[in-house]
Subunit: 261 residues, 2 copies
């Protein structure tokens, strides 16, 4: 393991400039990646609760102060992990979606890609889920802190819709990306508890639910359905992801996770 | 605290006859209730994981063997708790539903009654939820072991439908009680994480979602909706509550929780 010089041990929790600035994707970015990779490996091997920042620093070959410089807490590492998995998922989808026009096929591409990208972290996700299930935890996908990641995925779902041959009106087009994200969260929940080899059951569940989602969307164009769509929209805003909009207004989509707990 | 004679300390885990049989609702039933009440108090005060059968026996004034005689494990105590809360909920609903004919009002009665009955156990539910969230845990409401309790509630929902002025056909009448139970599970999940005083947010959530459920049911009578209803039915059977039917066939609705883990 490469030893990285401790540049700022007296300055933890991200105060001040990073050690290696100046636009280069240099040593600073390398150190950050190294710490994140090491942390994820230790989380997998030892469990999230039992892995300390000290152990992460030691295994990464950096000082504890340096580790805290890049990630203010274990929570920041988890948000770094969310970022990484989300970026990988979104990049992969944008490639795989090229030339696919059928909405159901496009949705299937996105959900299958998520299962592929997440697969190496399944064991970790199972033990970690306890920490993320509480919607008031900053580690919950529903939290204000997770808004930037959520925004990337809802943007992806907006592209899934726009690039498809499905015709939907403006009101639905605005609501659907968030509903599709909620559907993905349902798949994630199913996957967390999936014990089948290679999570085959989750893949079957995706294959079964995708045509149903397509059917619901097709039906939702009927006038008789419209009041329900509006109720659902208000319900989601008021109860399910209220912080999302607030966080977006306050901090913009690239806001760093707040230092809570 | 009354001391109860240890009648069968050498015979734990419910083998053999109970200490006081013969049709009387006598000492045996009293001891059982005493142990259950004590366990629930300790679970609330100390947490489920930290409360031992030994401590439950001691606080109840019975021997450890006697405690095990009535409840083979802590899991059996939880199923005893589910039974008790469910019986209280169902009895309360049957009273409150008298004379109410509007389906939305009837549904509101059932969901509000659940929040009332469960209220004293909110703090316990929050810390206990970790043990019950895994669908493969015998303590999960989705488990085969929880089938008897689930069956009581789906029977109640069938009564909610039958006694209402809502007209639904046979196919829906068969599927809806289970869907309404799933809706209740969604309310329970919301309630577990509700930190508002007196769980006011959960009550507001029930008031908001009940008319939506009514609207969905009304819409589901349209022919265009029917294939979706059928898909949903198959999906639930195959993925969500598959063990329910199996447990019913094998053990009947009064089967005791199996001794797993």
């Amino acid at each position: 393991m490469e030893h990285v010089e401790d540049t700022d041990a007296s300055n933890p929790a991200g105060k001040g400039d990073p050690p290696d600035r100046g636009g280069r994707p240099g040593k600073s970015e390398q150190t950050r990646s190294l710490i994140l990779e090491t942390a994820l490996r230790l989380f997998r091997e030892r469990g999230y609760d039992k892995t300390t920042m000290r152990a992460i620093a030691q295994e990464s070959g950096v000082s504890v102060g340096n580790a805290y410089y890049y990630f203010g807490s274990k929570e920041h590492l988890i948000h770094g992990f969310y970022d990484q998995v989300t970026r990988e998922h979104v990049d992969r989808c944008r490639q795989d979606l090229r030339g696919v026009r059928d909405f159901g096929e496009r949705l299937q591409v996105v959900l299958s890609a998520w299962l592929d990208v997440a697969e190496p972290y399944h064991a970790f996700a199972v033990q970690f889920f306890r920490n993320a299930a509480d919607p008031e935890s900053p580690l919950s996908p529903f939290s204000a802190e997770s808004y930037p990641v959520r925004a990337q995925v809802t943007t992806l779902f907006a592209e899934v819709l726009r690039g498809s041959s499905l015709r939907i009106d403006d009101e639905l087009a605005e609501l659907l990306p968030e509903l599709l994200w909620l559907h993905l969260m349902g798949i994630v929940l199913f996957w967390v508890y999936d014990r089948s080899p290679d999570c085959a059951k989750s893949r079957a569940f995706v294959a079964r639910t995708t045509p149903m989602v397509e059917r619901v969307i097709t039906l939702s164009r009927y006038k008789v359905f419209r009041p329900l769509v509006r109720d659902a929209e208000r319900l989601i805003r008021d109860y399910i992801v209220p912080e999302g909009a607030a966080a977006a207004d306050a901090d913009g989509p690239t806001a760093a996770p707040a230092d809570r707990r």
